[in-house]
């Protein structure tokens, strides 16, 4: 079964580097999301694996086949890579009916007519689009077009399925619905999914592993919860999670292998980690997830700046001197502005970043 390996893959458009020396192993049956802000190179990466874009340098292997190697001059056409591709705008052929759109790929595989008909019917039933068989794409809604596109892509049973922001053109409600259907589809079809998105919630919800990129460079490649709890640098910590992580400037002084004296929010604290702390601790950024900020009691004294209730949970911003601290409270609460609000920071998942490099140097607790 296919395992996708990217080795030193680089893509330049003239002088602009879109993807820089990317190394990645996608295991069979993974659901990988390529995540990052727009222009970070995630779509380019996907298109290179699919064969729609030619890398400038590097080597790509799908299963046992080298599909691209810049040194040996190998570049296998997308048609021979045995893949499916779902485009952001669906790319349904406007002059063909729903049936013809789905059948087209099977015709190319020279399936017998009877089998094509069976398969198309099966796909239309699976995606609940039977009643649109004779319609043209322009006569369908966005969500229906999306389903046709999925049916078309899945019909030839590709072993690897590539998706380029397939949900971004749908409205919020439909997007949530399709999201769970895609995840179900991954289980049902038993194939490898590679999925591009800029929506970190989508990436968290869908993926078995997230590949987070920024400015053409791979930042972190881990399962979603690892990315969330152990971000390797400030960019990852900032990009993943909503509301975003609190970043508080601090100064520090080494106390031993596992402890650092930290001066932050006007207090002297001790940061304790279970592992040895490496790196420069004099200038630090301390990262605290909003759910670790407990409101109501504690030794920090802040003032409520604004409260944003969303029903199930409430985001509260508390001003503490020059710093702003965000907290998430379960349930609906509504604090009045300028209310005095003591808070504490409770967790052993507090993250210490080196300020100069932005790298994570420790995970631990504050006391």
């Amino acid at each position: 079964m296919p395992r996708i390996v990217l080795e030193h893959v680089t893509k330049c458009f003239d002088k602009f580097v879109a993807v820089d020396d990317l190394n990645l192993v996608i295991e069979d049956r993974d659901f990988i999301t390529l995540l990052g802000p727009s222009g970070c190179g995630k779509t380019t990466t996907l298109r290179m694996i699919a064969g729609l874009e030619t890398p400038t340098k590097g080597r790509i292997t799908i299963g046992d086949t080298v599909v691209f190697d810049s040194e040996e001059g190998i570049d296998i056409s997308p048609a021979k890579r045995d893949i499916g591709f779902l485009f952001q705008n669906y790319a349904l052929w406007p002059h063909m009916t729903v049936y013809d759109n789905i059948a087209f790929g099977l015709e190319n595989l020279k399936w017998p007519k009877k089998k094509i008909e069976e398969r198309v019917k099966e796909m239309m039933a699976m995606l609940k689009i039977e009643q649109f068989e004779k319609r043209f794409p322009s006569e369908l809604s966005g969500g229906q077009q999306q389903r046709v596109a999925i049916a078309r892509t899945l019909a030839p049973k590709p072993r690897v399925l590539f998706m380029d922001e397939p949900l971004s053109n749908l409205d919020a409600k439909l997007r949530l619905e399709m999201r769970s259907e895609l995840k179900r589809l991954h289980v049902d079809t038993d194939s490898t999914f590679v999925y591009v998105t800029h929506d970190q919630l989508e990436a968290m919800a869908l993926a078995t592993k997230i590949c987070l990129m920024n400015k053409a460079v791979l930042q972190q490649y881990d399962p979603p919860l690892v990315v969330y709890n152990k971000p390797v640098n400030l960019f990852v910590a900032d990009f993943v999670g909503n509301p975003t992580m609190n970043f508080i400037n601090a100064t520090g002084e080494r106390k031993g292998f596992n402890d650092v004296f930290v001066h932050m929010l006007g207090k002297d604290l001790v940061f304790h980690s279970s592992e040895t702390i490496d790196g420069d601790v004099s200038d630090l950024v301390i990262g605290i997830r909003p759910e670790f900020v407990k409101l109501g009691e504690g030794n920090f004294n802040g003032v409520v700046y604004t409260t944003l209730p969303s029903g199930m949970e409430t985001t509260v911003k508390v001003k503490h001197g020059e710093d702003m601290v965000t907290s998430v409270v379960f349930g609906s609460v509504d604090f009045s502005h300028s209310l005095d609000m003591p808070f504490s920071i409770v967790s052993d998942n507090i993250i210490m970043f080196e300020k100069a490099s932005g790298k994570r140097i420790a995970i631990g607790s504050l006391s």
Binding site: L52, P78, A79, F87, F104, G105, P156
Partner: protein, 605 residues
């Protein structure tokens, strides 16, 4: 009560007039009604009344009603008159138009595909030179064809030796030089850039994902073109075919240059000679009407094919990432063939015009001299005015000056009108009057150039407007209206792109209308507005068919050129053509460098 009502009406009128878009709409409704619609009525009238030269044949006084013109032209059996003067030329024109369509779309479409979809090298160079034949006057390719293929075996070209014969000794048979085949080929090559611009535009805007989706689903290259690309560009293709067809069928210049042996009369050359014969003018007007009906039918068909449901406008976020088809082993031969053909029809003609004007004995390259440019001898008595060398010839220089003046005025008129009409159409979107105005502004596009000339010829024959006959003013009006569609189209497109808020922001700050136009709207869409001036200028500078019925001998440069050409002074006609092309190219190049405007921006179909 009544007073109250009248003040309310007055106030309504006042507030209606206070909006510039309303004033412009009404103004142009009136202007276009008098310049486009009313002349059409006089044209129809002229086809059913007796003219002064026709009294003897018809036996009725001047101005009385008669169906003689229609009946004679279409149904006269004596000596096969109607077959010879109407039906056969019509058939010739249709055949010529069909073949030229195939050539233009096949050639232009292929090059468009290679430039937009493949990794062919030298794209920038190719796309620049490929539009040359369209920028050149329409007879240039015909003239070049003659320069290239004429040979000592053919009497009709005065046995002059052409390039092919002098380099290789080959003499082509007469059917390759004059008649159906060369006319169709030359028109096809002339309109190939037009097809290239239209089809290329669609290919460029077409969502590349549509083709990629088929690639991923294992469709072969050929199958993708056949099943995906072609059906999607089909509406544009049909539209191109129809436009080329309607332009070719009424083309006058090419058949008049390549019919020196008289074997290939077309509907437009026939029309010209009918108008030149005093006793047959009425029949000329009939032909003009029939040609006009042809064009209108074709354009209606075009609307039908490019209607909303049939046209596939595809909007995509990621079409910029077009993956180009790799030509692989075919790269070098494909490139070579396309380059050679393009250079042959874009650059070699220029060289040939310059060269032909320098040869004292055509075809003999040892006789290169400036004789035909500098001599003060009279070379030929039959031409109108002076026939001295080009540089010393007062007739040529005066005509060139008048042509330049005419083109500048025409460009100013149609460019400015176009912007204003575009502005009104964009601001008053949905209003019926505004739609009428923009439809009327587009109407002259549908009318074949010669028919349009005929329309105004009939106006100039009325007593009221007889002062227009043969005047420069008449040419200015005709040119200004005929080239209005280009300008109003580019004006409307660029205005539609601007959201109303941009102007409203200035309106709220109390900026007067003219200042909003000059300081806000114009600078933002500078390039496309200037294209709206450039295209009429270029078209007017090289126009012959439109003016040929109206202009007096020696009045404008293209008429002078034709005079020298038909009288066998090909050195001078080549030299003049070279001058015209250089002026047009230079103006286009300078404008492009200074403002970024170019003619392909103005061509929208």
């Amino acid at each position: 009560m009544a007073r109250k009502k009248s003040t309310r009406v007055l106030n309504n009128v006042r507030s209606y007039i206070s909006k510039p878009a309303n004033v412009i709409t009404i103004l142009f409704f009136i202007i276009l009604l008098t310049t486009v619609c009313l002349p059409l009525l006089t044209l129809v009238r002229d086809s059913v009344v007796v003219h002064s030269g026709e009294i003897r044949d018809i036996g009725k006084p001047v101005g009385s009603f008669t169906m003689y013109h229609w009946a004679t032209l279409l149904f006269e059996k004596l000596y096969n008159y109607s077959i010879i003067t109407f039906w056969r030329p019509l058939l010739n024109s249709v055949m010529m138009a069909i073949v030229s369509c195939i050539v233009a779309v096949g050639f232009g479409g292929t090059v468009a595909w290679f430039i937009t979809r493949s990794d062919i090298p030298g794209k920038k160079f190719l796309s620049t030179i490929f539009v040359f034949p369209y920028i050149m006057p329409s007879w240039s390719i015909a003239m070049f064809w003659e320069n290239f293929f004429k040979n000592s075996n053919i009497v009709a070209c005065y046995n002059q030796v052409g390039m092919l014969e002098s380099f290789t000794g080959l003499c082509v048979p007469e059917w390759m030089l004059y008649g159906f085949f060369p006319c169709a080929m030359c028109l096809g090559i002339h309109y190939a850039p037009f097809a290239y611009l239209l089809i290329g535009g669609i290919l460029r805007n077409m969502d590349a994902n549509l083709e990629e989706a088929a690639t991923v689903l294992k469709a072969s290259r050929f199958k993708i073109i056949r099943k995906i690309t072609l059906p999607i560009v089909m509406p544009a293709l049909i539209s191109t075919v129809l436009l080329v067809f309607s332009s070719s069928i009424s083309s006058y210049t090419v058949p008049s240059f390549l019919n020196k042996n008289g074997s290939f009369p077309t509907i437009s050359t026939t029309m010209r000679s009918l108008f030149n014969t005093a006793s047959m003018q009425g029949q000329g007007f009939v032909v003009a009407i029939i040609l006009l009906v042809f064009s209108v039918v074709i354009l209606k068909l075009n609307d039908k094919f490019t209607g909303k449901r049939k046209s596939f406008t595809t909007v995509s976020g990621k079409s910029g990432q077009v993956s180009l088809v790799k030509l692989g082993k075919g790269r070098i031969p494909f490139t070579a063939v396309i380059m050679i053909i393009s250079v042959f029809f874009a650059i070699v003609p220029l060289v040939s015009f310059a060269l032909e004007s320098l040869l004292e004995v055509p075809g003999d390259y040892s006789t290169i001299s400036l004789y035909y440019w500098t001599t003060s001898n009279t070379l030929e008595d039959r031409v109108f005015g002076s026939s001295q060398g080009i540089l010393r010839n007062p007739t040529i220089w005066a005509a060139l000056g008048r042509s330049l003046l005419l083109s500048v005025i025409v460009a100013l008129i149609s460019g400015t009108f176009g912007i204003l009409i575009g502005y009104a159409a964009a601001r008053k979107r949905g209003s019926r009057l505004a739609r009428w105005v923009s439809n009327m502004a587009f109407f002259p596009y549908l009318i074949p150039a010669m028919s349009f000339g005929a329309v105004y010829l009939s106006v100039a024959y009325t007593n009221t407007f007889s002062f227009l006959r043969g005047s420069l003013l008449l040419l200015i009006i005709v040119g200004g209206i005929k080239f209005l569609p280009f300008a109003s189209k580019s004006g409307a497109n660029s205005m539609m792109q601007l959201s109303g808020e941009i102007e409203e922001a200035a309106l709220i700050m109390g900026v007067p209308w003219w200042k909003r136009m000059l300081k806000v709207l114009f600078p933002i869409q500078k390039a496309s507005f200037i294209s709206g001036y450039l295209l009429p200028f270029i078209s007017c500078m090289r126009e012959l068919s439109l003016f040929v019925l109206l202009a007096t001998p020696g009045s404008i440069i293209t008429v002078v050129l034709q005079d020298f050409e038909v009288n066998g002074l090909t050195q001078i006609s080549n030299g003049i053509n070279f001058l015209i092309i250089m002026i047009v190219l230079l103006v286009q190049l300078i404008t492009n460098k200074l403002t970024g405007a170019s003619i392909d921006k103005g061509i929208g179909g």
